[in-house]
């Protein structure tokens, strides 16, 4: 009768592991997305109006 209990525990450990892994994956995705936006915005800010003013 002990075995099913043990399996149940292992299953809940596995569930917890997947939950944490999913959380970490989402966090990494959000950070990478934020970095893309950050560098894009920085490029726009640094360029400012200079693109429009350049010599043709």
């Amino acid at each position: 009768m002990c075995e099913p209990k043990g399996n149940g525990l292992a299953q809940s450990d596995e569930k917890e592991r997947k939950r944490r892994q999913r959380g970490r994956s989402i966090a990494i995705a959000l950070v990478l997305g934020a970095l893309v936006v950050l560098f894009y915005a920085a490029t726009i800010v640094r360029l400012g109006g200079n693109v429009a003013k350049r010599a043709m």
């Binding site: 917890e16 892994q21 959380g23 970490r24 966090a27 920085a42 800010v45």
Partner: protein, 309 residues
């Protein structure tokens, strides 16, 4: 000889890995908030224009860099953290994050924050951030902390750099005013930490960290606290001469400094009396309020100047 091998998947199954909250804890969010605040003061107090977006990026990079050094500190100190009451609930001693994961996390964020600050804002500010991280991790954590009772005096420089980084992010330079902001935090650190160490000396003694109360005794620590408090209050008045601080700052620096000196004197006078620990706790709590208010006044004065023009 029979050899037991554990596959990568089995090893991963045994260690479920940390939750996102554990990685945030590695960044020492409370320390980070003080770093953001002092860096913001440096950013706004510095003369010259600063694009709001650049200011936000600078603060973000400084905060992440500070957090990364916290993660690297927890990686290196995991052995003593596990035996100290104040630190045993951290993610590594609790087994929620492995030391290797913490080290990788800290290194990636350190490099990322320095490069981001350099590429987007200013390379001098980025160099100062790199120096801050290296100073905190290598000079303080790895070298001084377990070696000398002067650990937090010299190591305190790491915590004092953020306003200087903020200043450099705005101006691209280091000036006498940014050095004064550095000096205020640098001289504030010993009385602040030694007041805590007086109360927690058993903890430090057990793990072999040579904090001043452990090595030189409580009486010498109280004397040094008073000495550094006098130096701190003296230096805190210097921004009045350079123009960094205005009238409000002058009033705050004198009033808050008087309070600091009074508490340091009371702690020194308490000797080994039973209420000495209470005096140390009072000074520790007051020191946090002192630094916060002093920088808040500088921040407020310069924010108003920027708004009014």
């Amino acid at each position: 000889m029979a050899e037991t091998t554990v596959s990568y998947d089995e090893a991963r199954a045994e260690h479920p890995g940390g939750a996102v909250g554990d990685y945030i804890a590695l960044l020492k969010p409370r320390v980070m908030s003080l770093v953001i605040f002092t860096a913001l003061t440096g950013l706004l107090a510095a003369p010259g224009p600063l694009h709001p977006f650049m200011a936000i990026v600078a603060l973000l990079a400084i905060a992440v860099g500070a957090g990364a050094s916290g993660a690297l500190n927890m990686w290196w100190d995991a052995d003593i953290d596990a035996r100290m009451e104040r630190t045993q609930s951290r993610p590594i001693p609790q087994g929620r994050v492995t030391p290797e994961e913490a080290a990788t996390f800290g290194l990636v964020l350190s490099i990322g924050s320095v490069i981001t600050l350099g590429v987007i804002v200013d390379w001098l500010a980025a160099a100062l951030l790199a120096l801050t991280i290296a100073f905190y991790v290598v000079v303080y954590t790895m070298w001084l902390k377990r070696w000398t009772p002067q650990n937090i005096v010299i190591g305190g420089a790491a915590g004092a750099f953020p306003p200087m980084i903020g200043w450099a992010a705005t101006t691209g330079t280091v000036s006498i005013d940014s050095v004064l902001l550095f000096l205020i935090i640098f001289l504030w650190t010993p009385p602040h930490f030694w007041a805590l160490a007086l109360v927690r000396s058993d903890d430090y003694s057990r793990v072999g960290v040579p904090m001043l109360p452990v090595v030189a005794g409580a009486a010498e620590t109280r004397r040094q606290i008073l000495l550094y408090s006098v130096l701190l209050v003296g230096v805190s008045l210097a921004p009045l001469w350079t123009g960094l601080g205005g009238v409000a700052y002058g009033v705050a620096a004198v009033a808050l400094g008087a309070g600091f000196l009074a508490l340091a004197c009371r702690l020194w006078a308490a000797g080994d009396a039973p209420h000495g620990a209470r005096r140390a706790r009072q000074l520790f709590g007051y020191s946090i309020l002192y630094l916060f208010l002093l920088f808040a006044v500088i921040l407020g004065e310069h924010a108003i100047q920027r708004i009014v023009g």
